[in-house]
């Protein structure tokens, strides 16, 4: 079965005063129908830019999709113009943003903001759109939806606003929801509620979810498959159990080791491990593996030759020279 969305060799570059910033540099990601895929990585690794590139929501210029294909239901989205993409935005692919506090227009009622997407994509009257909006608000468990629909965003709390964002993204029943760190800006108790809601909605509507996050806890809880990104590249991709059970890339291992654990007794407790250093600046990135400067296992080859993504077991791919030094010897 062909995947719902297939990103092939995506390169999204930004022109800056200092040169071309290669925010996303050859990323391959695919999502199947009804699947939850998590994209993880630290801030600045290109996960948001990848997601925004799908619907061309990055600022262009200075942003530019330099290469690659984004195939959604057999159709490449990259060559489409913005107005052609408008037919897909919200209707086929819905977006949930990170900051519920700033992602809603402060001068329009939330009802208006949800209804406008319905009115844009479906032949509904104003009244029908309002009814559907109230229905969506009830679905995302906003109490007193009939009254709240006429309220403005500032009259809602952060968690409630994120529910509104979810209602908005789901209004046209898209086949794919891209949620860009939907819980990062919320406090922990609300985070769990929002993730549950998202999961619940996914099951109800049978859509696929691409969940972008940097929280490994969220990944373990929600994902079926995981893509780990580092410095604009995919470094590992695996089903969730494989990834946590047998992480192969040193970066993934580092990410997992940096999760605080409470289940160990005091004798086994160790200091929380951190990955030293920081993400490289992606203007003229170093040749070879981009993680090499921070990698404990870095070898000579790592700074000379870029490791390619290869399958190490069914569904488990990673990009690291570790374990195949013979490749280095041959070249």
């Amino acid at each position: 079965m062909a995947p719902l969305l297939e990103i092939k060799g995506l390169k999204t570059h930004f022109s800056t005063d200092d040169g071309i910033l290669q925010a996303v540099d050859g990323v391959d990601i695919s999502i199947n129908k009804g699947e939850t895929l998590c994209v993880v990585g630290e801030s600045g690794c290109g996960k948001t830019v990848t997601a925004m590139s799908i619907l061309k929501l990055i600022a262009m210029p200075p942003g530019r999709i330099a290469a690659g294909q984004i195939i959604f239901e057999g159709r490449d989205l990259v060559p489409l113009t913005s107005s052609q993409l408008d037919e897909i935005r919200a209707k086929e692919i819905g977006f949930i943003f990170q900051e519920p506090m700033t992602s809603l227009n402060p001068v329009l009622t939330i009802g208006e903001q949800i209804a406008e997407s319905l009115r844009r994509h479906e032949a509904v009257t104003k009244k029908q759109a309002l009814e559907r909006t109230i229905e969506m608000l009830k679905l995302v468990q906003i109490p007193n939806a009939e009254g709240r629909v006429h309220n403005y965003p500032h009259q809602f709390s952060g968690g409630m606003r994120q529910r509104v964002m979810i209602a908005m993204a789901l209004a046209c029943k898209p086949k794919l929801i891209i949620a860009d760190e939907p819980t990062t800006a919320l406090d922990v108790t609300i985070q769990a509620q929002i993730l549950d809601l998202l999961q619940d909605m996914k099951e109800r509507f049978g859509m696929a979810v691409m969940l972008i996050t940097h929280a490994m806890g969220v990944v373990a809880e929600t994902a079926q498959r995981v893509v780990v990104m580092y410095a604009g590249k995919v470094v590992e991709e695996a089903p969730v159990d494989d990834l946590f059970g047998d992480p192969r890339h040193p970066y993934t291992q580092g990410l997992i080791r940096s999760i605080p654990r409470i289940d160990l007794d005091s004798e086994h407790k160790t200091r929380l491990e951190a990955i030293g250093g920081s993400v490289p600046i992606l203007i003229n990135p170093p040749v070879g593996c981009r993680f090499a400067p921070r990698c404990k296992f870095a070898m000579n080859i790592c700074t000379e030759k870029e490791p390619l993504l290869r399958e190490i077991s069914p569904g488990h791919r990673m990009a690291c020279h570790l374990g195949d030094t013979h490749l280095g010897a041959a070249s």
Binding site: M52, L55, L57, A59, S82, S83, L85, D86, E87, I88, R89, A90, K91, G94, F95, F97, E99, T102, S103, L104, N105, P106, V107, L108, Q113, E116, S117, R120, H121, Y152, H154, M165, M168
Partner: protein, 319 residues
Amino acid sequence: MSQYVLRRLLIAIPSLLGISLVLFVVLALAPGDPFAELATNPNVPPEVALALRAKFGLDDPIYLRYLHWLNAMVHGDWGFSFVSRMNVDTLILQRLPATLYVIGSAQILALLIAIPVGVYAATKPYSLFDQIANTLAFVGFSLPTFFTGILFILIFSVTLDWLPFVYTTDIKGTGIRWVLEMIRQAIMPVAVLGLFQAASMTRFVRSAMLDVIRLDYVTTARAKGLGQATVIVKHVMRNAMIPVVTLIALQMPAVFGGAIVTEQIFRIPGIGSLLITSILSNDTPVVMAVTFVFACLVVLFNLIADVLYGWLDPRISLR
């Protein structure tokens, strides 16, 4: 809401009283008064001049004069212009139409240029259009109206002889001829003032738009597939216009007060030129009335700006 307006109007009373007191004192301290000329006029015997002064209370202590003025004002008596020999209110009402017509048209012209140009420039920042608009705006507000006004007169009146350079209120002819002539003589002052206002307003609109256009909720709107026009008008402009509307509301007193320099250049018999001639001829009652009306308008339009602000931005509640 109405309670808020009422309270603001009540607060306005003491501030207007304060303003009028300051204006009155400043004018009283200024050298000369409406009868200064009588003293030097050899045809007027000194005792007549003194009698007149006494009659109008010009030599009373300042607080008494102020109270007289205030009392008269409260009763709707705006005073009498000794220079023009008519009541101040009739004088102002005579001059007001020309000012409203010319300055009002200039403001409308400024808005008609500034909003579309500013909005379009902001949607394509650093494009050729934006660069040209920016450069022209920069040139536009660097050139003062007394310069462009004279330049326009030189080109369009003196050299090309297309447009009249003196504005008259008694145009010969009636009907359509009168209308055309009214438009013809207003073209230059309206263009000079309108373009000058448009220049600074364009830059203001552009930067207000740019502030909004990169905000998260604009991306949200784009993600809904609304299309560029809807996103810009409904989501960006609606927010960016909040400060612009406030700015325009605060500029409105200027429309009534007239543009002093422009009115002088084109000899427009408006409020602005009335103020200048009154100051030059020591016509204190007129100066006092015009400046006081101006102060009232400033207070009023500040209130209107605040009410508009609350109406445009649901986050602000007026209590």
